[in-house]
Point group: C2
């Protein structure tokens, strides 16, 4: 895929939001021009084949191990939080100061950890096996996730938002950063995959819930999500709705 230097090329699995969606939200929030390569028709250089070529080391720059991959300016950049941070620095979605950028990346990587553990609820043994082949272990993993890990992560982010006293709804500083976008996407995914678990705890998360509403209402994000470019969650991505993993319903209040 050859795009002009000022156009980003995103390579990710078609058919699911997955980790690619974290990158898309940054691109959409700043209105950056990009091509979602695998979603193009094959006759226009799309489909999965160009992504697999990148992963075989046939693209520009450093060979990536896994998607999402952003190709820009002769480089192939992988790792979700890294791509988001790279774009954010170029488009004003993170402060210029190296210390503030380290704080932002720290939060983004902690969100990545939560995303990985969320994925592992349905794949605790091996990515190469189907969910159906690890359902027993998934049930045991998910019990601990719902009871311990998910509340631990979300209470942590709520505390970070609460400590950011002059920051309004933002996790860091007083303006939108890519960390807010990544937190939004994670909350959306959790609401899809773990509605009961989230319902049990969301009363403790007023700032995160306000952040979620704020990001959803950003004009560019709202327009994107109403467009055909934005795909729904389904049972092929990170966030899957398997009710057997979601614990008991919240008690009636």
């Amino acid at each position: 895929m050859h795009t002009p230097d000022d156009v980003y090329a995103l390579y990710y699995w078609d058919g699911l939001p997955g980790r690619g969606e974290y990158v898309r939200l940054v691109l959409e929030a700043v209105g950056a021009p990009y091509v979602d390569v695998t979603r193009l028709p094959k006759e226009e250089g799309g489909g999965h084949a160009p992504m697999f070529a990148l992963l075989r080391g046939e693209g520009p720059g450093l060979r990536p191990l896994a998607p999402p991959v952003l190709v820009h300016d002769g480089r192939a950049i992988a790792q979700t939080a890294n791509i988001c941070a790279y774009l954010a620095a170029r488009h004003g979605l993170v402060p210029d100061d190296p210390g503030a950028q380290a704080e932002a990346l720290q939060l983004a990587l902690t969100i990545s950890d939560l995303v990985t553990e969320t994925h592992d609820t349905h794949h605790p043994i091996a990515k190469a096996l189907y969910y159906e082949d690890q359902k027993v272990e998934a049930r045991r993993y998910a019990e601990r996730f719902v009871a311990e890990r998910l509340p631990k992560f979300l209470r942590y982010f709520e505390a970070v938002a609460a400590a950011n006293r002059d920051g309004g709804v933002h996790l860091l500083g007083d303006a939108l950063t890519y960390v807010d976008l990544s937190m939004f996407q994670t909350l959306e995914g959790l609401a899809y995959a773990f509605p009961r678990a989230l319902a049990r705890i969301e009363g403790e998360l007023p700032r995160l819930m306000a952040l979620r509403g704020h990001v959803a209402a950003l004009p560019r994000i709202a327009a994107y999500r109403a467009s055909p470019r934005c795909r729904s969650f389904n049972e092929h991505g990170i966030f899957r709705r398997y009710p057997e993993l979601d614990g008991e319903p919240a008690p009636a209040s």
Copy 2:
């Protein structure tokens, strides 16, 4: 813990190298002054209590979720690869260019993914449970790790090193970066925890093995590893020697 502005304060679990060792290797490689806080005597402000205070949000800057944490210049910086990247940019262990820094971080985060999966071989279900309480699942996880994931990661890094044609032993560019140090530490850990699995594949990894030898021979790294500041691997960290997880011995050649 109050240190002068030009002295770094590292907070990590005492008694194991763990993820803290990735940060120590960067500090040691550049000869930066630092205090390993939890290893100080309690009467000098050491022990684990100051680390727990940081994790409760009682320190400077952003509250971290988990160690390692580096306190510097009024900020508390967490997430291993993030700390290493922050230090590397300050001390010349990564190029100044944002694109090259994104490539370095991509590799560092892919090493982090390997480290996380290595950890999960003995903790596939829950970090809060003992290994003894998840041995059955650990056996199943480790079988796939040894057969599929470990070779996939290491062949990937070998291919990255091989593609860096003018880079000598380095993974990126033609000079030492923090990525080389992190790769070294990971290979050391794997040699400790998975000696059979590594022996089966190391013939395919000439560049990684050369990198391992190169880093071990760097004067500051060699001096550090011979010092009491460097702790041995043991069964309390990421890299644990549980022979039942390490697959079959390599066939005699």
